[in-house]
Amino acid sequence: MAVWERLVSVLEEDCRDNRLSVSAPFSRRTLLAGLGGGAGSVGMLSALRAENAGHFPGTAKRVIHLFMNGGPFQGDFFDPKPGLTKYAGQRPPSANLRTERKTGGLMPSPFRYRRHGESGLPVSELLPQTAKCIDEICVVRSTWTDNPNHGPALLLMNNGTILPTRPSMGSWVSYGLGTENANLPGYVVLCPGKPVRFSILWTSAFLPGSHQGTYINHSSLSPDKLVPFLRNRDSERERQALQVNLIRRMNERHLQRSGPDTRLEGRLQAMETAFRMQFTATDAFDLSQETRQTRDAYGEGHFANGCLLARRLSERGVRFIQLYYGNGQPWDTHNNHHQASRDLSRAIDQPVAALLTDLRQRGLLDETLVLWGGEFGRTPTSENGSGRDHNHHGFTTWMAGGGIQGGMSWGETDEFGFQALHNRVHVHDLHATILHLLGMDHERLTYRYAGRDFRLTDVAGNVIREILQS
């Protein structure tokens, strides 16, 4: 058949093509990507899965980042602080830390803790379902970051720097490991709305444009609305393959004529991913394919749907999935904190537990790292009587799966949970550890740009080996 023969010959040509001339970083994995990227190769490519191209064998293949944008209060969940009750209303010297705004005396968390699982780790009553999974979880109580303002803290947590514009963590991971599934974007960002700072949080910056996060607003669930332009008008996919392939060749020609450009290179890849998404995304984003039982396990609401989508995407090999809790910064509880924390916890508890359980049951948890946390924590002192201010001195994040040792806590905060004191984990350390789990040395995952090698962890970061499975 004429078209198919043409496709094969085009593929062969591509292999002969010296695509290395386009740009060195782009072509580091070109041969594989070139084949994988060949749009004509729909049928042939399912056999070609990207191998984990890291520095050493990693335990995790992908990441699901559950982002509580706005910043949850560490003392409400996994870090009980009886000291708060003892000194309620007072402001002892050690609680006299500076944050964004002025805060008053200590405000105890009213939520009761109980020990759970074999590990006996304490979890508060706000997370009864998640508590059942505590033996999968490593609670990092001693996380800290540099700045008590949302913008810089969001940038540090996502992009490893407080300055825009640097590549996001997801982009680094996608760049470092390539894609597991050429039919979907390697890095997907889910949010029912827009988080503060928006697209800069998943930018690829100077990394090749194909590693940028693909943002999908999942407030509506039908696949057509999630990804609105999936329906191809020409029913014959091989014909379109030929068309897309031709477009790529013309684009490459243009690129060679006009000089290197990471954005153009990114679009080159994007076109091909898009082409393939037409045949796979409807399926990946279609929650109606899940059984009633599964749907019930995750529960209702946008966060439950997001968790379920995250599982479907991770099953399909999406490398990095970020699920932002909500539009704006819902966890930013400057007023009426207790009630807000109660409501927000109710919205995440069951879905988080269901996600961990589901991944475990499907045998995916061991190779999928789940990360939970905000851009910072909140103050144990009260703001305005009922609120809590931002707190960058110490807060809780947790990780599960992907080679993390479950049922343990790491690090300690002071007696009020204000400041990380022992085994402090800076965001750079968190990033270093995540990259390590994925099989990458954070000091060697670099990109030369503007005369200098850049890293996600800049010149800092230490892997927390103690929390890894031996």
């Binding site: 004429a2 999908i216 068309q243 400041q419 800049d458 800092a460």
Partner: protein, 972 residues
């Protein structure tokens, strides 16, 4: 160990964020460039403008305070680094002493310490943040374009680089046309220039493009981003809102090159200008683009105050590049804006009448010239028709129908000495005294025969046009309380005659004609508000009345309402025709038709009037209704603090005179546009520059404060700013100056040297190359395929979008894919619903109009490729382009198509791959005609006579490939 790493880390960061770090400049440390960024990031949080957070009563943002003796010494002693406590505290090893305190997580890096030390040693010369000093025109040639080139070349030379060669003529025409009008040129336009590409021709081309009507549309889109324009109100319900007349106004102003200072006055305070025109009041819809919340149970005051804050924030951000939003809750930590000062500005904007009301009041009616003309025409026709109708109604003899016979009384009686006279054709006129109530008694002997119905016509005497049907000149209505009919036979006793039903041409509300025979004197038939025209009623008798010779008919018109609501001129007739015929003829023939026509016209007028767009505008409250402004503690409107006076921030004082009653919105406009304002001219020049170059001289277009990016070319920025201001704030002048430059016209090709030395193109050794804006992507598709409609203005349109995106839970608003012209209008006319913006545009980074958008961050995702491959508009564009390609001679088709899209010469060799695609795919389509038909249906492509469908279908695939090339999507 970690501490050391951190220090090194920050050094690298600092070295990178200042592209031109002090190390490579002269040895003199610059306060604003080198020192202030350190102080603002490391120190100002506690020793800056925010009094609430201030420690030790020390301000390092003020020279006087920093050089003053404090409890622990003098922080900054010029020329004496060792005597400066600021340095000794920073260098201290003691955790109690060291600054910044460890708990802040801030450290001053080694490199930064060196800078501070050097600065003090050099004399600690103070200055303001660079952007807060007034811009000064650098010492360069008077010709702005020449000066611009010179400044860029100088900087390049410092880095061992130079401008790229001029781009080829075709490329320059395409670039210029896309930049100035948002649309590509035609290949013919480009070729014409390419044949004679002189400087004079280039300048003429710039001028010609600036005069295009599409120029205003393109630059209006930038303004619409700033103005957070949308066609709905936002928040949960997100109902429709009529804002498009403002958008049309905007396009018009830009096409007239209205100077920015005049525009600013009208946008912010057009309603307050003396004798404000409709257009000037319409201009103020600018700040009514804020969202409003119709959700039940929300506090209108909450959303009103949010809107006012949004106006303050957006104003400062758009004109001065200041991020003021944080001062809603607390004093700005980095820039000189205290919370009190924020609410001082808030107080000025706090006095408008709008209050988050569901009707969005106050509204301004904008009939528009065309509609106004039609309304006037209609009003005229209605007037003519009305007088014709009146004439007809009063025309008694000539049009009298055969089957009605006038009832000419032989005996008449009225009460209270009122006088009754019979005139022509049985018309009875009442005159003389006019008692409150009156019963008219009329008797006559009709001709023998049958009477089935009786008619009363209330008339207006000839020549008394403005009079009414009643006798009270102040209220010329009548009330016929009861009509009594009696027959007095020649022999026998009188008996009353019952009425079966009645019909009137008009009845007053609650005063129907039926009430005139219900036996109740408190009710009756009346005709207000139409009492200034004739009326008639037909009363059908229960049984036809047989009249014999000598029988008398007696009528009583009982009018008991009072207030002299009695008839002054009337006629009574009888008929023997059937009830249906009788009821048809209330008046003379022709009246019914004329009345129907009148009703129709009046209805048209009503519809026309209700369709007049009513746009939310600003309207100042009357002085006595002014709101008291109090500071919102922590930004909470329910927690009012101290009262605040309207005023301007101390750091940016107002120089013009303010009215005695305190500053108003007009003063804000003057304050922003004053020569003394250091920011406005820079912010606008930078904004326009960024649109042409792909990025600003200050990349953080939204932040010119101390936390913003430093300018890559400070002198160039000042040159542009001063030129823009001194050229009377003309946008066209500024664009002309930039577009004529060598910098603008150079090639965009990236060389290996560029990539190494200046990957971000901060130094401008090449022209900007970037993906087109969302609107330009779509408009260009339509333009090159020939589908584009250039129709300007009017209500927003709904081009095709994927089905089912709009959820209209609350109202009947629906997205109906437009047909015809409106399917292919420019993208700025696309209906923008805030909660569901047009997906093909947002995928390419267009905003939702919820908040002021200073610049769009360009992203690049597979979803964009999906739009280009599958969006209905893209597919139709491929269809239309394919049709046009096939209309060319066979050997030129592919070349023609490529030229059309890419605007450059195309060789036959370059179309070879397309030819292969065409041949392959055509063969396929020949074998599968139903597949070809499906594609053609989707692409709305029509097969011409004698043309194989497979050929067109294959050409659609080829056209799709042409329209998906990066080169097509890129401005370069």
């Amino acid at each position: 160990m970690q501490g050391l790493l951190r220090v090194v880390s920050s050094t690298v960061l600092v070295a990178c964020c200042h592209v031109f770090s002090p190390a490579d400049a002269e040895d003199q440390v610059s306060f604003s460039r080198d020192v202030l960024p350190i102080l603002s990031t490391r120190c100002f949080a506690c020793h800056g403008p925010d009094a609430a957070q201030r420690q030790a009563e020390l301000r390092l943002d003020l020279e006087t305070d920093a050089k003053l003796e404090h409890s622990s010494g003098v922080p900054v002693v010029p020329k004496d680094p060792d005597g400066s406590t600021m340095l000794s505290r920073i260098n201290s090893e003691d955790s109690e002493e060291v600054m910044p305190p460890p708990e802040t997580g801030q450290t001053v890096t080694v490199e930064e310490r060196k800078i501070l030390r050097e600065w003090i040693a050099q004399g600690a010369v103070w200055g303001k943040h660079w952007a807060f000093e007034a811009p000064v025109r650098p010492e360069v040639p008077r010709n702005g374009t020449v000066a611009l080139d010179l400044l860029v070349k100088k900087k390049l030379a410092d880095h061992g680089l130079q401008l790229s060669p001029q781009a080829d003529a075709w490329q320059r025409v395409r670039r210029l046309s896309l930049d100035l009008t948002g649309l590509p040129p035609t290949p013919e336009q480009a070729e014409q220039f390419a044949n004679n590409p002189g400087t004079e021709q280039w300048n003429a081309l710039i001028d010609a493009l600036l005069e295009r009507p599409e120029f205003g549309e393109h630059w209006a889109r930038m303004w619409m981003d700033l103005a957070r324009y949308a066609d709905t109100k936002g928040y949960e319900k997100d109902r429709g809102r009529t804002m498009w007349p403002w958008r049309d106004w905007l396009v018009q102003q830009l096409n007239q090159d209205r100077p920015l200072n005049e525009l600013t006055r009208e946008l912010l305070a057009g309603d307050l200008l003396p004798a404000a025109t409709v257009d000037q009041r319409l201009a103020t819809a600018f700040h009514r683009n804020t969202m409003s919340n119709d959700e039940g149970g929300t506090d209108n005051e909450e959303f009103r105050t949010l809107a006012v804050k949004d106006r303050v924030d957006s104003t400062l951000q758009i004109w001065m590049g200041l991020t003021a939003g944080c001062a809603r809750c607390h004093s700005h930590k980095y820039d000189p804006l205290t919370q009190e000062e924020y609410y001082g500005l808030y107080a000025i904007f706090n006095q408008t009448a709008d209050a988050d009301r569901p009707d969005d009041a106050p509204l301004l009616s904008i009939p528009g010239d065309e509609r106004r003309l039609r309304i006037e025409e209609l009003e005229q026709s209605i007037g003519t028709l009305k007088s014709r109708l009146e004439h007809l109604r009063n025309q008694l003899e000539s049009n009298e129908n055969d089957h009605w016979t006038a009832f000419v009384p032989q005996r008449m009686e009225a009460q209270g000495h009122a006088k009754m006279e019979t005139g022509q054709a049985g018309v009875i006129t009442v005159s003389g005294p006019s008692p409150e109530r009156n019963d008219y008694l009329l008797e006559s002997a009709p001709a023998p025969g049958s009477i089935t119905a009786l008619r009363i016509q209330a008339l207006i005497p000839d020549g008394q046009k403005n009079a009414g049907v009643g006798r009270n000149p102040g209220d010329p209505n009548f009330v016929l309380s009861e009509l009594l009919i009696e027959i007095i036979p020649a022999e026998g006793s009188p008996r009353s005659v019952a009425v079966q039903r009645a019909k009137a041409d008009f009845s007053q509300r609650n005063w129907p004609v039926q009430a005139a025979f219900d036996g109740d004197l408190k009710t009756g038939w009346a005709v207000s508000p139409q009492m200034r025209q004739p009326h008639a009623a037909v009363f059908v008798l229960q049984q036809p009345l047989t009249i014999s010779e000598g029988d008398m008919l007696r009528l009583q018109l009982q009018q008991r309402y009072g207030n002299s609501l009695t008839m002054r001129c009337f006629r009574i007739s009888v008929t023997a025709e059937s009830a249906e015929v009788a009821e048809r003829d209330l008046f003379a023939p022709g009246v019914r038709e004329a009345a129907a026509e009148l009703a129709q016209l009046e209805n048209q007028l009503k519809q026309l009037r209700s369709a007049i767009p009513r746009v939310p505008v600003m309207e100042e409250l009357a002085r006595e209704r002014n709101r008291e402004t109090r500071l919102h503690v922590r930004g909470n409107f329910l927690d009012p603090g101290e009262p605040v006076m309207a005023g301007f921030p101390e750091a940016f004082p107002i120089v013009s005179t303010v009215a005695a009653g305190g500053p108003g919105r007009l003063d804000v406009a003057d304050w922003l546009m004053a020569d003394s304002n250091p920011l406005t001219a820079r912010v606008w020049a930078n904004r326009i520059w960024a649109r042409l170059m792909g990025q600003g001289i200050v990349t953080t277009e939204e932040d010119f404060g101390t936390m913003g990016a430093t300018p890559s070319h400070p002198e160039l920025l000042d040159l542009l700013a001063v030129e823009h201001r001194d050229n009377g704030w003309s946008l066209r002048q500024l664009l002309r100056m930039i577009c004529r430059s060598e910098v603008y016209q150079q090639s965009s090709i990236v060389t290996a040297e560029h990539r190494l030395q200046d990957p971000e193109n901060r130094l401008l050794a090449r022209a900007g190359r970037f993906r087109l804006s969302a609107e330009a992507v779509r408009d260009q598709l339509l333009a090159v395929s020939g589908l584009l409609s250039l129709h300007q203005g009017g209500p927003p349109v709904m081009p095709p979008q994927p089905a089912g995106l709009w959820r209209s839970t609350y109202n009947s608003e629906k997205w109906v894919n437009a047909e015809g012209d409106n399917r292919y209008r420019r993208s700025l006319y696309t209906y923008l619903k805030r909660t569901t913006p047009y997906p093909a545009l947002t995928t390419f980074d267009a905003g939702s109009g919820e908040f002021c958008m200073i610049r769009r961050i360009r992203t690049n995702t597979p979803l964009q490729a999906l739009v280009m491959l599958n969006d209905q508009t893209a597919v139709e564009a491929a269809g239309a382009l394919a049709e046009r390609m096939l209309a060319q001679p066979q050997e030129h088709r592919l070349i023609w198509g490529m030229r059309q899209a890419l605007i450059r010469p195309v060789s036959a060799e370059q179309t070879e791959p397309l030819q292969m695609l065409l041949d392959d795919v055509m063969q396929e389509f020949e074998a599968a005609p139903e597949s070809a038909a499906e594609l053609l249906r989707n692409a709305r492509a029509e097969v011409a006579e004698n043309q194989p469908a497979a050929e067109l279908a294959a050409m659609v695939v080829v056209a799709g490939a042409i329209l998906n090339q990066d080169e097509f999507l890129t401005r370069h």
